[in-house]
Every structure is written in C-alpha cells, then in structure tokens.
C-alpha cells in the first residue's frame, strides 16, 4: 500500500476513544432526591408556620406527620413524575444510541470507501465527481480538490484517451440502459503516464428508476498487461526463430525426395514425405502462433482495398475443389449482387478460407457445403453451412477460445491447432464485422460473418498476418 496507513490508524483511534455524552443523574437517585425534598419541604413549612408555638412533643408529631404525608405523596410522585420521567429518559437514551450507531455506520462506510486500494468515484448523473477515495488520488495523481466538481472520463482529468465509440457505448450502457458497464480502459495520470485499468461503473437508481449517482471502480492492470505483452512477445520471437530450422528441414527433405543425392527406395521416399508433412504442420502452427501474437500485441495491420468478396470466395473454392471432390462432397454457391467494398483482401481471404476449410474437414463424405453471400441491411453477409459433425452443444460457448478444439473435432482430425477460429474472430471483430454460428451435433454447422458495406476499419498496426496454406 502506498498511501499513509498511519494516518488511518490515528483516525481509527480517535474514533474508538470518542467520548460518549452520558446523563449524570440516575433514575433511582432522582426518586430518593424527590422524596427527601418533599419531606424537607413539608417539614419546613410546618415548622416555619408553627415553630414558636410548638412543644417538643408537637415537633416530633409534625415530623411524623411529614413522614406520613411523604408516604401518601409517594405514589403520586411515582406515577405522575417519576415514571413519565423514566420513560422519557429511556426514549432519549434509545434515540441517542440509535443516532450513534447510524453515525458510526456511515463513518465506517465512508472510511471503507476512502481507504479501499481500488479507485472509487461517485458522480452525479452527468458524470460530475461528487466523491473520490484515496485510491483515485493515488492512481491518477490528481488531488481530491482538483477532481470534485469536474466531469470524469475527460481529458481535463485522467480520461478521454479512448475512441468516441467507446465513450458512446459507455454512456449508453450506464445512463440509458441503466446497466453496469464492465471493461478495460486506457487512462492517463496527471504526470502524463498512461495506465490500463479494469473498470466497472454502476448506476445507483431511485425507486422510480432515475439515475441518482454513478459509482465507478477502477483497478490498475498496467503490470498484468505488461507481463502478458512480454509473454506474447516471447512467443512471437520464438516463433520467428523456429522458422529458420523448419525451413532447413523443408529444403533438405525436398532435396532428398527429389533425388538430388541419389534415388530413394520406396520406403525412404514414404518416410521422407512423412517428415515433410510433419514439418509443414509445424510451419503452419508457428505461423498461426505468430498471427495470434500479432493480434494480441495489437500490431495487426488492416489495409482496406476495393475488393469483391465473391471473387475471393470463388478463388478459394477453386483452391479447395480437389479436396471437396476427393470427399465426394457437394458444394452449393449462392451469390447475390454485391458492390466492391473497402476491405483487406488478405484478411477477408483468411476468414473465408478458415471457415470453408473447417466445413470441408468436419463434414463426412458425400456431405453438402453451402456458401452464400448476400447484401443484407448495409452489410455483406457471408454464410457457410455444412451437413457435418457439428459442434457439441456443451462446447459451443468455447469454440472461439484460443487452442480450444471440440471433442468430436479432435477425434476426426488430430492435426488442428485450435487457433483458426480464434484468429478469425479476432480479425472479424478488429475490422468492424461480426461472427456467430448455429450448430447441432451430427446435423451440421452454419457460420455467419458480416462485414459492413462501408468497409473495414483501417488500422495502422505494424504487423500483417502470415498466410497459412
């Protein structure tokens, strides 16, 4: 913890030792006091009135009279003065105790918020900061006084670094949908240093569903991000290094099989081809890993060019036709008229190639594969369906996860990497499209990809993806 805990300790102690205001008189004391007072008053009156005329005996009688009178008065005093007083007293005491508990709870809550390590901001419905905890000061470098009264999430404070689309979605979620927003965000500290944070912003609603406040919590994940990036960079570097020896194997096997150093026997030829197949698989895997690292490092580049998606589909089918024929599969093509759109042709090719090759791979012989490209509400919709093995319903939610392979896919084809659909989804989403699917085990799968007709979002990264055959 970086802020001063001793400060908190001191406050805690003050809090515990705070003097409680107590009533000094006890109720029983009061009763005795009242009775004695009555007795003395009666006695004094009698004595003052009659002192000079009284004999000693009469004084004693007077005292006795006073005592009797006091005893008679006792119930009246008890019921008319003492009991009501006692009740009033109890009430006051209870009220006081209650207020104290309330005050203590409120104080506790405030302190809990103030001293939480994570950054907590409470704002009004327009995002104007009403309360900030120490975590905010510590994380952003702005002091409480600098923050209160200003709009959070703007360049004036620590925000404003994300694109417009992000803030639009953010405000829509919390203000209009009145839902919790959870996400990752890049912000900037007062000293100019950028940091990554995991944020959640919750609207606090009144009974009639009006937004009263927003409570925003941020956790600094810069360090986690850095470690993750370092890991990805190692994968990228290692993959690159792996390509050199894999190339050497590829070329030497090629020289062997092409008889450069003498003709091989049939078995030697067969074995050398196996080596080549294994090696090619490794090259493809290494390239997939390179692609994953590029996507995860955010270095992927998207260069949109005027492209006809239908042409890409046709050329891919041409490429796959021998595979389709050898499995005696039927391919149906349905193309609607579609304008050329601004997309990255290499990435688009990779998307269709991946889904199409899965459809062929995971559909038994004599199955049917259908590819449909339509112009649907400002989007190009690409639908690829098959009559194949399908994805088990239990595993459907995991299908786009990195390295995940469905059980039946694993059985039918041992060589997949589990990276294809992960890469496809990342490409589609980073370029502004959408991807989803329907699937039923042993019936088939249908994958849908949409790409806005206005084209892909251009992205100035530093790296392109490797083409995998």
């Amino acid at each position: 913890m970086l802020w001063n805990w001793s400060d908190q300790k001191k406050k805690n102690m003050e809090f515990g030792n705070r003097k409680k205001s107590k009533l000094i008189i006890s109720p029983t004391g009061l009763l005795i006091f009242l009775l004695v007072m009555i007795f003395l008053i009666e006695l004094s009156i009698m004595l003052v009135l009659n002192f000079y005329r009284l004999s000693r005996q009469e004084i004693l009688v007077t005292i006795l009279d006073s005592i009797i009178l006091t005893v008679i008065f006792y119930p009246i005093i008890y019921f008319l003065v003492y009991r009501p007083f006692l009740m009033l007293l109890r009430e006051v005491k209870e009220k006081e105790a209650k207020t104290e508990i309330l005050a203590t709870d409120l104080e506790k809550f405030k302190m809990a918020v103030d001293y939480t390590f994570d950054h907590i901001v409470i704002t009004d419905p327009d995002g104007i900061a009403l309360h900030v905890n120490h975590g905010v000061e510590h994380m952003t470098g702005f002091s409480r006084n600098e923050i209160i009264g200003k709009k959070v999430g703007t360049k004036e404070l620590w925000g404003g670094l994300m694109g417009q689309a992000f803030y639009k979605k953010f405000w829509k979620t919390i203000k209009y949908d009145k839902k919790v927003f959870v996400g990752e965000i890049n912000n900037r500290r007062k000293n100019g240093e950028e940091y990554a944070a995991q944020i959640s912003v919750s609207p606090v609603l009144s009974k009639d569903q009006r937004v009263l406040y927003f409570v925003g919590i941020e956790r600094d994940i810069t360090e986690e991000k850095r470690i993750d990036k370092a890991k990805t960079e190692i994968i990228s570097l290692a993959s690159h290094q792996l390509l050199t020896p894999l190339t050497a194997i590829k070329w030497y096997v090629e020289m062997l099989t092409s008889g450069d150093v003498g003709k091989l026997t049939d078995n030697q030829q067969k074995y050398a081809e196996e080596i080549n197949r294994g090696n090619q698989r490794m090259i493809d895997l290494v390239k997939s890993l390179l692609n994953v690292s590029r996507i995860e490092l955010g270095t992927l580049t998207i260069v949109p060019k005027e492209t006809q998606i239908i042409d890409i589909a046709k050329s891919l089918i041409n490429e796959f036709i021998s595979q389709i024929d050898s499995k005696k599969q039927k391919i149906i093509e349905k193309y609607e008229k579609l304008p050329k759109i601004l997309i990255d042709p290499k990435l688009m090719r990779m998307i269709i190639q991946n889904i199409l090759s899965n459809a062929i791979k995971y559909t038994p012989e004599k199955g049917t594969i259908t590819i449909k490209i339509e112009n649907k509400s400002q989007n190009a919709l690409i639908t690829i369906s098959d009559t194949g093995y399908g994805i088990p319903s239990k595993q459907q939610s995991q299908i786009f996860q990195k390295l995940f392979r469905a059980d039946n896919a694993r059985q039918k084809d041992t060589e997949g990497t589990g990276l294809g659909l992960y890469i496809v989804k990342a490409i589609v989403e980073q370029s502004g499209g959408k991807i989803w699917f329907d699937s039923m085990e042993n019936k088939g799968s249908t994958f849908y990809v949409t790409m806005p007709l206005i084209g892909m979002v251009k992205k100035e990264g530093t790296k392109f993806l490797e083409n995998i055959k």
Binding site: T244, T247, Y252
Partner: protein, 122 residues
C-alpha cells in the same frame, strides 16, 4: 559458362541447402555470412544474381540493398527471408530487389525457377 550466384545468408544450414541445390542445378554458387562480407566481395567480383537474406548480424539485408547501388551492382537481387511482412516486402522492392520470397513458404525448386526466370530476363 555457369552463372555465378552469391548467397548472402547467416544461417549455415539454409545457406548450405541453397549452395548444394544451386550446385546440383549447374550454377556456380558462393556463400557469405553477413552483409559486410557481401559488400566486400561485391566490390571485387561480379555475380549474375544475388540471393539475399534480410535479418543478418553486422550489416543487414536492407543496408546491403542500399549500399549496392553505390557499388554499381547490376545483378538482380532476390530476397529470401522469413520476414514475410508486407512492409518488409515493400521496403525491399522499393530498394531495388527483383523479387521477394518467404523461405518457409517456398520450395527450393521454386527458388531455382525464379532464379532461372530472373536470369533469362537479364
């Protein structure tokens, strides 16, 4: 007369494979292991074609391409690299490379075909 080909490649197994293949195809290959050696030998000897790697110690392939112009080198340069990135390809081509191939994607026979093709055009 056999065509003289310079192989500029720091990875021994790769350079050897190219050397052997070129020899068996009837070329006269020579190997150097970095950009500096390439520039040194190019200053003394004439070659018909150069196979150039990009990532090398001391002087890398891009620098070789840049300095080759000063040496009045007219031999076509084919870049063979595992840097298959669009910007690397583009940069190399802009700097005068005749062609660009990603090693891991290219069979040796294809390299030979490309060499023959480039030599025919000269």
């Amino acid at each position: 007369m056999a065509k003289k080909i310079l192989i500029v490649e720091d990875e021994k197994p790769i350079a050897n494979a190219l050397f052997n293949k070129l020899k068996s195809e009837g070329f006269e290959p020579k190997m150097v292991i970095n950009g500096q050696e390439a520039l040194d030998i190019l200053a003394q000897e004439k070659f018909d074609l150069i196979l150039l790697d990009l990532m090398m110690p001391i002087v890398n392939g891009f620098e070789v391409l840049k300095k080759m112009k000063d040496l009045n080198n007219t031999a076509p340069v084919i870049v063979l690299s595992n840097l298959g990135q669009e910007e690397d390809v583009q940069k190399a081509m802009e700097m005068g490379a005749k062609n660009f191939f990603v090693k891991a994607d290219t069979p040796l026979i294809e390299v030979i075909n490309q060499i023959n093709h480039a030599l025919e055009l000269v």
